[in-house]
Amino acid sequence: MAVNWAQVLFNSAVTGSIYLLGAVGLSITYGLSGFPNFAHAELITLGAFIGYFVAEQLGLGLPAALIVAFLVTGGVGFLCYRGIFQPLAKRGATIIHLMVASIALGFILRHSIGAVWSWKPLYFTTAWSAFDVGPVRVTGLWLWLIFVAVTLAFIMHLILTRTKIGKAIRATSSNPELALASGINIDRVIWITWFVGGGLAAIAGIFRASDTQIWPMTGWDIILPIFAVVILGGIGNYYGAVVAAFVIGLAENVGVVVLVALGLSSTYRIGIAFVILIITLIVKPQGLAMLFRRA
């Protein structure tokens, strides 16, 4: 069977864009707050449902859904940190306690979503027409997704390098004590990253849900590759996460081709991310961060 490699590459860009949006927030908050927020999966889900509510139940369309979901989920992300993780850390909770708390929070969010919207899979009704560009079949949704992901990645880059708050974020993540001594309000920096991270997760959720289905496990379904992106990119490293998202996207799509050629089930695509995750942890736990030491 001939493989359409152009299509594989394009699909990798689509997958990578979702992982990028989903992983950046987790990576930066993990780096700044020092623990992996397992409830990040539920922020993705929550964003998807808010997007669904705005776009489908209120009928306001995709752009409005993206903006509202960004703001609301960002707010929820901020409140989670401000209301639960920060006070817990101040009481001297260990990293294990913080991880357990984040899993607990994930359950609260997931089942609250399940109580409001039920566990039945829902679908975005907007029909996206598919058309061919050369040998590649694309849909409007995928083009939107890549456009939004690349634009946001570029905006994040500008913020991190050109603005005061961006520089404060980088300063805090490389050396919190020194940042504090330089008069940076670290708490505020961390709050902002939780807000932005939640917002980006929401956008990832909306696109993922539009492409597949939406149910309370939407975020949990992709949490494994997202963790793989965070680890491969180096925890807290923005540029590492950008590169890693597309590396994992590519590995998954090429991996599916290989799996099919070997006659294995393509549900193992998630196993590819797992293998990359484990190998990175064992061989080079700092991930791709060494490529971007100055970032």
């Binding site: 992996p36 607990a104 089942h111 998630i270 797992f274 995750l277 484990i278």
Partner: protein
Amino acid sequence: MLLYGLDFLVFVGIFGIVALSLNLEFGFAGIANFGKVAFFLIGAYTYALLSKIGIPFFLCLIAGALTSALFGLLISLPALRLRTDYLAIAILAFGEILRLIVKSESWIAGGDWGISVAPAISTAGASHHVGILVNIGLVYFCLLICFVIAQLLANSPYGRVVRAIREDEIAAEALGKDRAKYKAQILMIGSAMVGVAGGLYAEYLRYVLPSMFMPMITFTVWIMVLLGGPGNNWGALLGAGLVEFFKYGTNLAKDYLNLPVDPINLQYILFGVLIILVLFYQPQGLLKESPIKTKALELARYGKGVVNNKPGK
């Protein structure tokens, strides 16, 4: 109603074993095992597959324990050199992948549909109650063995080394204790216990399905240990009892109350709230960590006879 109570007792027993094993790993050794369900699954599937080809139940249980321990050892080889948070992510991912494998490879054990499991001791002809009572006997026998092992470990010189590693890895290594080796052993013992619990679970429910082994199981066991008191084996049992009681209570309430919220959702929301409250206000759990009991300590505290050592004399 009686049936319901007996059913409850079986579940307390099975999850008591799982809680004891997590307590060994987290409470005593400080290992953040977020993939308990993986080893539970291994025990259950080993039991189911072996009992299908006619192997007696106690051998199936032992085989489940050994297989699970083997996987515990295998995962500990790379994983225990990792930082706490990396280990947590890696082991959680391991559980998810394992469930994926038994789900998509239907030749192993029926894939999504699972396979049925024969009862350990045939009680054909007797009433359903007798069947459950037999299970209670079996489960509590295993629980007793696990509890004795856990208590002996906790109070032995071995257990003191493990606790020392939890408190300060570097200091323990400076005293010549190989932390990776001790942690690998604890992970093996813990996994063996969960393997037994998994086998009992499969045997009691009479079937295994991939959807029985969601990450929720791991999380429930974490609540049991954190609520009861990490580092205290009685606490693990108390936690298992309380959490199962709460589960059965809400399931009962569902039949009598007309709630606007789906009780399953409500149950997990309340679990989440409960665990966060425990972490905020009672992070050491309901029962404090049991003090170490040794002859040497008694001797140091009281001398040979209590009289000789009274203060001021």
